[in-house]
């Protein structure tokens, strides 16, 4: 009978354990399924390949395009990968279990988003120089490109996750996520591509990076709460 008494443990070790376990699980899932992992990268690369073919192979012209194209590609890649963030959990019933866990929901959510970012945003950032080279981005632009992506993509993941949480489980209207999230992405795109352009032309880019950082801080503070609330709302119908 001892077993079933009200036991109110101190939860903080449980919380860090949960955080780590969730990250581990997400990584495992991605490495097993691989597609989630590779898809955004392939998309990213594809854009870099298709542009010279479709628009113009001329280096000077491409160089002008490069900052914007890389950023647009990163944004689209993140957006397209957002959709699956909660979908598979919803479909196999894991999401219900998640919502019924006594642990704070936003921890799991944050862990999921961070893991997701590491496998998309971070990977994109590391791959960006390759794209830069393919699109003849001047070498001076590279640090700016990578730094801006490093600061900008987590925001994209966090904001995208809100959209994913709001639309999970929708039978009709399914992937509204693009429509919901896109307007919110625009500031990141603007600051990000401006930072790269500034870096290319040799202007100081600290201001842009600070702005991206501020956006990130804001998103980090508010998004996990919004995501948790949205998940509860979506499931409760």
């Amino acid at each position: 009978m001892k077993m079933y008494t009200n036991s109110r443990q101190n939860s903080s070790p449980g919380v860090t354990k949960l955080f780590m376990a969730t990250c581990r699980r997400e990584f495992l899932l991605s490495f097993r399924r691989k597609s989630d992992l590779v898809n955004p990268l392939i998309f990213f690369l594809m854009v870099a390949t298709l542009f010279p073919l479709g628009v113009s192979p001329e280096p000077g012209f491409l160089a002008q395009l490069a900052p914007g194209v890389v950023w647009v590609a990163a944004l689209l890649a993140t957006l397209l990968s957002m959709d699956v963030l909660f979908r598979s959990d919803y479909e196999d019933g894991s999401l219900e279990q998640l919502l019924l866990s006594p642990q704070p929901l936003f921890i799991v959510v944050l862990a999921k988003v961070i893991a997701h970012w590491m496998m998309t945003g971070l990977a994109l950032t590391l791959m960006a120089p390759l794209l830069g080279v393919m699109l003849f981005l001047p070498a001076e632009g590279m640090p700016g490109l990578m730094l801006s992506l490093l600061l900008g993509t987590p925001t994209l993941s966090l904001v995208g996750a809100i959209g994913a949480a709001l639309t999970v489980g929708l039978k009709k209207g399914g992937v509204l996520i693009s429509l919901l999230v896109l307007p919110l992405y625009i500031p990141v795109l603007i600051f990000g591509s401006s930072a790269v352009q500034a870096a290319v032309t040799g202007l100081p880019l600290g201001g842009y990076l600070a702005l991206l950082g501020a956006l990130l801080a804001l998103a980090l503070a508010l998004a996990p709460l919004a995501i948790s609330a949205a998940l509860r709302i979506s499931i409760s119908s």
Binding site: Y4, R8, R32, S88, Q103
Partner: protein, 213 residues
């Protein structure tokens, strides 16, 4: 056992203008097993989702140890195990990895007990096989292993015996009985004739529907 664990008062739910149940009241004491009965579409799953707190599409009151469940949500989640139509098993993970994640979700579960739980549900030798290579029943068993791990007094089980073979069903029934004897309680639905000779109470939803429609 003076105070019931869970008590439900005047529960009302409708879906698409069809009243599923109204004025549904019952109490669940420690050590009791309640089987929700009713034909397909009578609202069993809906009821269990409401009780577990997944759905808020209802009117009425649900009390957990005498307090409204909405106010003691965290404690309630700690004390409850929910098993739904969907098993919650990730196809690309192995049974062990799947359970490890459940262990992290509820702080009371001890991850060291996982191999034994898998053994209990007859999945020895399949610990390292990804779940998509398991049969339908084996997939359900992965999720059922949570019952062997759980420390929660209240189990809410929605058709736990789906796709399980006869021997497995008998073992699970035994487990439910043990759980009740240790002072836990169970609410379950199943279309299967329960072979438990114990404190099983039945609530039939077919009669409740339409009372106020």
């Amino acid at each position: 056992m003076s105070e019931p664990l869970l008590s439900v008062q005047k529960l009302f739910c409708e879906r698409d203008d069809r009243v599923l149940f109204s004025q549904l009241s019952f109490a669940l004491a420690a050590g009791e097993i309640v089987q929700i009965e009713g034909q397909n579409g009578s609202g069993k799953t809906t009821l269990l989702r409401i009780l577990s707190g997944l759905s808020r599409n209802y009117e009425g009151e649900i009390l957990w140890r005498g307090e409204p469940v909405t106010e003691v949500r965290e404690q309630f989640c700690r004390d409850m195990l929910y098993f739904g139509h969907q098993a919650g098993v990730k196809a690309v993970l192995t049974p062990e990895e799947n359970l490890r994640w459940y262990a992290a979700l509820s702080p009371a579960i001890d991850a060291a007990a996982i191999p034994e739980a898998l053994e209990q549900v007859g999945l020895r030798g399949f610990e390292d096989v990804p779940c998509h290579s398991l049969s339908a029943g084996q997939n359900r068993r992965v999720s059922l292993a949570r019952l062997y791990l759980s420390q929660a007094p209240l189990w809410i089980l929605d058709e736990p015996f789906t796709a399980i073979d006869k021997r497995g069903v008998a073992a699970k029934e035994q487990l439910l009985l043990q759980h009740a004897q240790r002072g836990g309680s169970v609410i379950l639905t199943t279309h299967h004739e329960l072979g438990i000779h114990g404190p099983v109470r039945k609530i039939n939803l077919d009669q409740l529907a339409g009372t106020s429609a």
